[in-house]
């Protein structure tokens, strides 16, 4: 047994960490948060040039052919700095969707473009508030033309290609489609969210061309598989953010004095940070298992993914809110960076389904593993 990353993987992580420390300091996040950019396009170009988007794409499709064990470590580092780039939507969602469900032709066409960062992708299934089910889908495709409206799509105004879940009369009631966003019949409603360092918009399809991805009537099953895979990657990104919250809170608690001593010497703060550490540690261990399951495509993947996802969502919420609390009044100001993580924690926690959705999936998955 060897439940640890190997030296090459650690090297990938260290390189990513140094790169982001140099190229994605808090000022970059703040620039996007406060400005009008949808994302940090310059940073994205650099990231793509580093080959990160190509990490887990096989070499024959123009990728680096590395494993998911490298990719999760990159995800953690991106989460650590709240990187304002469409990495999650393009890599965890769109790329994974095509890898899992695409025809050979689709893979050959799209994957090299994703690997190069020439195309940015995303994925959409939700159409209204609350949990989406196959039965609740209203978006539909007739004669290759898609109509419908998807809500609060992440990186909608950045992406050129989207994977869309639409209603189907067959099978599990849904099918997936690839839709190019650069065409007539696609329009946007801008959406502001609690995290302006990311882009979100509603997308309205009004007769745009759509190409089937995977079999007709197998869309919901495919979507669940894609989301399981993405959940592990999101869990690592969330974990990275949660670790930064702990680190920031700890630094502040060592430096800030009250009543003549560092506030980190008070048990109220000490135990708060210890609880963050406990949550992060358990989340990390579950993320390890998720990474292993993703990488080996183990039958335990649905359970491992749900476990990693729930653990990271819980840890990140706790760490991000209690980091603000540890910082006191300053933590609540615009000028201090605590806010990045509090916003991002919530957005990442609902992007592919909330804690309650994944808790429910966890129990269902636990039946299968026994």
């Amino acid at each position: 047994m060897n439940f640890e990353f190997n030296d090459e993987q650690i090297f990938v992580r260290d390189v990513a960490r140094s790169f982001l420390a140099a190229n994605c300091p808090p000022e970059v996040v703040r620039r996007v948060l406060e400005g009008n950019e949808h994302y940090a396009a310059d940073l994205w170009q650099q990231i793509v040039a580093q080959g990160w988007a190509a990490t887990a794409i096989p070499e024959k499709y123009g990728g680096l052919g590395m494993s998911y064990l490298e990719l999760v470590l990159v995800a953690e580092e991106l989460g650590r700095v709240c990187a304002p780039v469409p990495f999650a939507s393009s890599v965890y969602l769109a790329t994974e969707a095509i890898l899992l469900a695409g025809s050979e032709a689709q893979k050959e066409h799209w994957l090299p473009k994703f690997a190069e960062g020439e195309v940015i992708g995303t994925l959409a299934y939700a159409e209204k508030a609350g949990r989406t089910t196959a039965a609740s889908l209203e978006t539909k495709v007739e004669n290759g033309k898609i109509t419908g409206r998807k809500t609060t799509v992440v990186d909608a105004e950045i992406a050129q290609l989207i994977v869309v879940a639409a209603k189907s009369d067959k099978g599990d009631g849904a099918s997936l489609y690839l839709v190019s966003l650069d065409q007539d019949g696609v329009s946007y409603e801008s959406v502001k969210t609690i995290d302006p360092s990311m882009n979100h918009a509603n997308i309205i399809f009004n007769g745009a061309s759509a190409e089937l991805l995977g079999a007709d009537g197998e869309g919901w099953g495919l979507l669940e598989k894609i989301l399981d895979r993405a959940a592990v990657l999101y869990a690592w990104e969330q974990l990275g953010g949660s670790e930064t919250c702990l680190a920031m809170a700890k630094d502040h608690a060592m430096e800030r004095y009250a009543f003549g001593r560092p506030i980190g010497s008070f048990q109220a703060i000490k135990h708060k940070l210890a609880r963050m550490y406990v949550k992060n540690t358990l989340a990390r261990s579950n993320a390890y298992y998720g990474a292993w399951a993703l990488n080996t495509n183990a039958p335990e993947l649905p359970l491992a993914a749900a476990t990693a996802r729930v653990g990271s969502s819980q840890a990140y919420y706790y760490s991000s809110k209690e980091s603000i609390q540890t910082h006191g009044g300053m933590g609540f100001t615009w000028e201090v960076d605590c806010q990045f993580y509090y916003r991002r924690a919530k957005v990442l926690a609902v992007t592919i389904g909330s804690e309650r959705v994944w808790s429910d999936k966890l129990i269902t998955a636990s039946d299968l593993v026994g």
Binding site: A129, R131, F259
Partner: protein, 405 residues
């Protein structure tokens, strides 16, 4: 135990109601006024009618009424659409005024209290500093004697309504060579004095409810001092006791009613979300807290009406409401799933904006006016009587207290 008015209370309620029906301002009367203008307009009218600061003595602009009568008036007023009062008057009337009543000279009382009651003058509070938050007594703003005046230098922070304020209450350090609690002095200060600069602080929620206030060679005449030189901490405690009583557990926004209504609108597995047992169990626990706070307030009011003083137990309200509100907001967002994160502060017609708005602002409630951790300390030490922690900063000169810098 009953919820009915006594005969006297019923008569007072009827009188209040009649006055309100006749006097609540119509939109047309306030045309062109901004938020603070409307607040002042309504306060002035209440004052003119004898309905401002009801429990204050008449000569200070009050009505000499009982606490219960104040409560009754508030209950009746809440039934009308009245201008938003924010924190425009609560600091002056709720914190500065009781301190002036206790420590101020007759001249000061006559000069300031009526204009506080009438809303003509807004006051703010210059207490917290960048390195004196939970540990307020670590404040460093210096006051040095210069003839009959004091010269003030320093920086204050978390000051609400500073930009509207005519006056402020201010705590300063006059002697850094004695232990921290013994070297402070308390003043009133004219906010138009040269050397005062107010800068808004932008919060993570986007708003700017607070300011930084820079004091550079600000001159205050000695007759603006409250309490003796070196007694500032004791005077400040009077102010703070009244602060805690005035920061309520306000359960606006993400509360039982709004989250329950949300759960009635949304579906989970094709059934109303309100039928989901997690939703029910969580809502029930929050209802227990909300109702518990409400009925605790009623018990407090009953005690006040019998002449008891408000005690440190009022720290409960903010403590419970802060954590509860944050978790309810987070839960509501989760119920809405992906769409729950939508938030356009400039377009408030989004029906669920209350949840995101609360989610972003409630971290502040858990800090402002005393962090959760300070509230728990207060309950443990002042209500339960548990012993204080050993203090490294109480007996040594303030200038020797470790600050980490």
């Amino acid at each position: 135990m009953n919820f009915e008015d006594t005969q006297k209370e019923a008569a007072f309620r009827a009188e209040a109601r009649a006055w309100l029906e006749a006097n609540v301002p119509k939109e047309s009367e306030m045309a062109g006024l901004d938020e603070v203008g409307r607040a002042k307009f309504w306060q002035k009218r209440k004052s003119d009618g004898g309905w401002a600061c009801l429990t204050w003595p008449k000569q200070f602009g009050g009505r000499g009424a009982s606490t219960i009568e104040q409560v009754i008036f508030n209950q009746e007023e809440a039934k009308f659409e009245t201008p938003y009062m924010g924190s425009y008057f609560s600091i002056g009337q709720g914190m500065a005024a009781p301190t002036i009543m206790t420590y101020g000279s007759a001249e000061m009382q006559a000069k300031y209290l009526p204009k506080l009651a009438s809303g003509e003058e807004i006051w703010c509070q210059l207490f917290s500093e960048p390195s004196a938050g939970s540990d307020l007594a670590a404040l460093r703003t210096r006051a040095e004697k210069d003839g009959d005046d004091w010269i003030i230098n320093g920086q204050k922070v978390w000051t609400t309504v500073a930009q509207y304020a005519s006056y402020a209450i201010l705590v300063t350090r006059t002697d850094p060579n004695v232990p921290k609690h013994k070297g402070m002095t308390y003043f009133c200060v004219d906010m138009k004095s040269p050397g005062i600069e107010v800068r808004p602080i932008k919060q993570m929620s986007g708003g700017s409810s607070f300011n930084e206030v820079y004091l550079t060679d600000v001159r205050i005449p000695d007759n603006m001092r409250l309490g003796d030189v070196g007694q500032g901490w004791r005077v400040a405690l009077t102010t703070l006791m009244n602060e805690r009583a005035s920061i309520g557990g306000g359960s606006a926004g993400a509360n039982f009613k709004s989250v329950k209504e949300l759960a009635e609108r949304l579906t989970i597995d094709d059934k109303p979300a309100i039928e989901d047992s997690t939703v029910r169990a969580k809502l029930a626990s929050w209802y227990v807290e909300e109702a518990g706070l409400k009925y605790t307030e009623m018990r407090t009011l009953t005690a006040l009406s019998r002449g008891d003083e408000p005690g440190p137990e009022s720290s409960i309200g903010k403590l419970v409401a802060g954590v509860k509100g944050q978790d309810m907001a987070s839960f509501a967002i989760d119920l809405l799933e992906q769409q729950g994160i939508q938030w356009d502060p400039e377009q408030d017609e989004l029906e669920d904006a209350v949840f995101v708005s609360n989610f972003m602002s409630l971290p502040g409630l858990r800090i402002a006016g005393g962090t959760d951790e300070i509230m728990l300390n207060i309950i443990a030490e002042r209500v339960l009587g548990l012993p204080p922690e050993p203090r490294v900063d109480k007996t040594i000169p303030f200038s020797d207290v470790p600050t980490g810098v």
